[in-house]
C-alpha cells in the first residue's frame, strides 16, 4: 500500500513549451505528491496533452523545470523517462495491433524485467481470457486495460494517463474506476479527464487548465466533489 506523503514525486515549475514558434504552455507549475491521484481538467486545446508529452520527454521545453523524484528529467528522452518509472499512456488507445495480448504484455516485461503479470492482471481479470487475441481485435475498453496493465509492469512510481475513459461505455468506465482505486494503492496517478463526475470521484487534487496555463488548483475533497473547478474551465 502506497502511503500518502508530503514527498513531491513530480514537480513542474514555470514550464514553457512551444510547437515551433507557437507557444502552447505558459509558466505551468504543478506538484504531485506520492500516493495522490491528480487530475488535470480543461477544454480541448488547453494544453493538457502538451503538458503530459513534455513531462514524458517527448517534447522539448523552452523554459522551466521538471523534476521526478527529485531528479531533473527535463533534458531526458522519452525512453529514459520511462526507464526511471514515469510512464505515459497516450490518448489514442493504440496497442500493438499485430501482437497478441500476451505479446503486448511481454513487451512491457522486456522493458522493465518484471515478469510478474499476476499483480497487473488482478486489476483487469478480463484480460486473462483473451491472452491470444491480437491487439487489433480488442474493444476500446480492452485496449485501455491492456495499455494500463503494460504500463504498470515494473512498478512505476508515476503513471500519466491521457483521457483514459474517452469513448468508453459506462460499464467499462466503472470497471476502470474500480481498477484506479486499486492501482492508486501502489502508484501515483496523474490523469487528464473531461469526465467531471469521474474526476470528482477519484481525484485528490485537481488542476484546471485554460489557454496553456494552470488557472486553478483544488485539493480540498469537498470542493472537488462539489465540482468547484468547473467554473474555471
Amino acid at each position: 500500500m502506497l502511503e500518502k506523503s508530503n514527498n513531491k514525486i513530480l514537480a513542474v515549475k514555470d514550464l514553457d513549451v512551444s510547437y515551433q514558434k507557437l507557444r502552447i504552455l505558459f509558466q505551468v507549475s504543478m506538484d504531485v505528491k506520492e500516493g495522490d491521484v491528480a487530475v488535470v481538467v480543461g477544454r480541448n486545446g488547453a494544453g493538457k496533452t502538451t503538458l503530459f508529452r513534455t513531462i514524458a520527454g517527448f517534447l522539448g521545453q523552452d523554459g522551466g523545470s521538471i523534476h521526478y523524484k527529485g531528479q531533473d528529467i527535463g533534458m531526458l528522452r522519452a525512453y529514459e523517462v520511462a526507464q526511471l518509472g514515469l510512464k505515459y499512456i497516450q490518448q489514442d488507445k493504440h496497442v500493438f495491433s499485430d501482437l497478441s495480448v500476451q505479446e503486448n504484455l511481454e513487451l512491457g516485461s522486456y522493458a522493465t524485467k518484471d515478469y510478474n503479470w499476476d499483480s497487473v492482471l488482478d486489476y483487469f481479470p478480463q484480460l486473462k481470457n483473451i491472452m491470444d487475441r491480437k491487439g487489433g481485435h480488442l474493444s476500446g475498453g480492452e485496449r485501455q486495460m491492456l495499455l494500463i496493465a503494460m504500463s504498470l509492469l515494473g512498478n512505476p512510481g508515476l503513471v500519466l494517463m491521457d483521457e483514459p475513459t474517452e469513448g468508453l461505455a459506462p460499464h467499462v468506465i466503472n470497471d476502470l474506476i474500480q481498477a484506479f482505486t486499486k492501482i492508486r494503492e501502489k502508484t501515483t496517478l496523474v490523469i487528464i479527464e473531461q469526465n467531471l463526475p469521474l474526476t470528482a470521484e477519484v481525484a485528490d487534487r485537481v488542476y484546471a487548465m485554460k489557454e496553456g496555463k494552470i488557472v486553478a488548483e483544488f485539493n480540498e475533497k469537498q470542493a472537488i466533489q462539489n465540482l468547484e473547478f468547473e467554473a474555471h474551465l
Partner: protein
C-alpha cells in the same frame, strides 16, 4: 535452450524438403544452392522491410561488401574460404555499425534513397577506385587458389551444396528464434508504433540500429556464399538496379514472416528459371505476380498460408471447446 530447439522444427522440415529436392531433381542442384543463398539475402532485407518497415533500395551494396570481402581475401591474401566468410561477416557488422547511426535517422523515402546512393558509390568504388584490387569489370577469379576446409571440399559443387544448406539451416533456426524473442517482437512493435515503444522505455534507435546491422550481416553472408560458390566475383552482383530483386522476393514471400523469404525466393527464382526458357523477359511474370500480391494477397505466399493455417487451427480449437462444453452440459 528449449526455445532454440522449438525454433529448429520448422527449419529442419524445410531443409528436409531441400534434400528431397536434391535427389528428386539431381540436375537442379545449382538452383537449390542459389535458393539457399538468395533466401539468406532476402532474410536480411526482411528484417529491414518486413519487421522494421524500412524500405532500402541499396541492399546489393551490402551483398557486394560480403562478396568482395571474401573474394579479395581469396584472390590476394589467403586460401581458406572459411576465413573469407568470417571476414565477410565482420565487414557486414562493421558496415552496419558505421552506416547505421547515420542512415536510420532517416525515414521512409530518404532511407530508401540514401541506401540507393550508397549502392551507387559502392559500385563506383569497386569499379574505379579499387581497380587494382578488384580488377574492375573483369572481376576477381580465385577458384584454383581456394583450399578445402576440414571434412568438406567445398570447391566441389555437391559438397558446397551440403555446406550452403548447413549455413542456411543455422541462419534459419537463429532467425526463427529471433522472431519469437524480445528482439523480434520489438522490431514488429517499432514498425507498428515507435512512440509507444519509447513510452514503454525502449531505446528504439538502438533497436533499429541492431536491425540494420543484422540485415547488413545477413546480406554480407549471402554475398560471401556467392563468392565461394562461383569462385569469381564481378561488380554486376552489386549493381544498384538489382535492388528491386530482393524487395520483390521479400514482398512475394510475405514481409515480416520467418519463412516468407524462402517462399519469396522460391517464387522469384522459380519464375526466372522456368519462364526464361520460353520468353526472354521473364521479369514480366514476376511483375504480374507482384501486382497480384500487392492487390490481392498483401501478406504474400507464406503470410497468407500462415493465416489460413491459423484460422483452421482456431476453428478446430473452437469446435473442440464447443464439444467439451456440450459433453459437460449433457453429463
Amino acid at each position: 535452450m528449449t526455445r532454440l530447439i522449438k525454433a529448429s522444427y520448422g527449419p529442419l522440415v524445410l531443409v528436409f524438403f531441400f534434400l528431397m529436392a536434391r535427389y528428386i531433381f539431381p540436375n537442379k542442384m545449382t538452383f537449390i544452392i542459389e535458393l539457399a543463398i538468395f533466401s539468406i539475402y532476402v532474410m536480411g532485407n526482411n528484417i529491414l522491410y518486413g519487421y522494421l518497415g524500412m524500405v532500402s533500395f541499396g541492399q546489393p551494396f551490402y551483398l557486394g561488401v560480403g562478396a568482395y570481402a571474401t573474394a579479395i581475401y581469396l584472390a590476394h591474401i589467403g586460401a581458406n574460404p572459411l576465413i573469407g566468410m568470417l571476414l565477410s561477416l565482420a565487414m557486414g557488422l562493421v558496415v552496419g555499425l558505421i552506416l547505421g547511426p547515420a542512415f536510420i535517422r532517416l525515414r521512409g523515402d530518404y532511407f530508401a534513397l540514401i541506401n540507393a546512393a550508397t549502392c551507387a558509390i559502392g559500385m563506383f568504388t569497386i569499379e574505379k577506385l579499387l581497380l587494382p584490387i578488384t580488377r574492375g569489370d573483369d572481376g576477381l577469379w580465385y577458384r584454383s587458389r581456394m583450399s578445402q576446409i576440414p571434412f568438406l571440399d567445398i570447391r566441389m559443387p555437391d559438397k558446397f551444396f551440403v555446406f550452403a544448406l548447413a549455413i542456411f539451416l543455422i541462419v534459419l533456426i537463429l532467425y526463427n528464434f529471433m522472431d519469437k524473442s524480445a528482439l523480434g517482437v520489438s522490431f514488429r512493435a517499432i514498425k507498428d508504433n515507435e512512440n509507444k515503444m519509447k513510452f514503454l522505455g525502449y531505446d528504439t534507435f538502438k533497436i533499429r540500429w541492431i536491425g540494420f546491422s543484422l540485415a547488413s550481416i545477413l546480406s554480407a553472408l549471402a554475398g560471401s556464399l556467392y563468392a565461394i560458390n562461383f569462385g569469381f566475383v564481378n561488380p554486376s552482383l552489386a549493381e544498384p538496379h538489382r535492388a528491386a530483386e530482393v524487395l520483390v522476393a521479400t514482398l512475394i514471400g510475405g514481409a515480416g514472416t520467418v519463412f516468407g523469404p524462402f517462399f519469396g525466393t522460391l517464387a522469384f527464382l522459380g519464375i526466372k528459371d522456368l519462364v526464361s526458357r520460353y520468353i526472354a523477359h521473364w521479369e514480366l511474370a514476376v511483375g504480374i505476380l507482384t501486382l497480384l500480391v500487392l492487390f490481392r494477397f498483401s501478406k504474400g505466399i507464406w503470410g497468407n498460408t500462415e493465416a489460413i493455417i491459423n484460422e483452421k487451427i482456431g476453428r478446430k480449437k473452437n469446435r473442440t471447446m464447443e464439444k467439451l462444453l456440450t459433453d459437460k452440459a449433457a453429463t
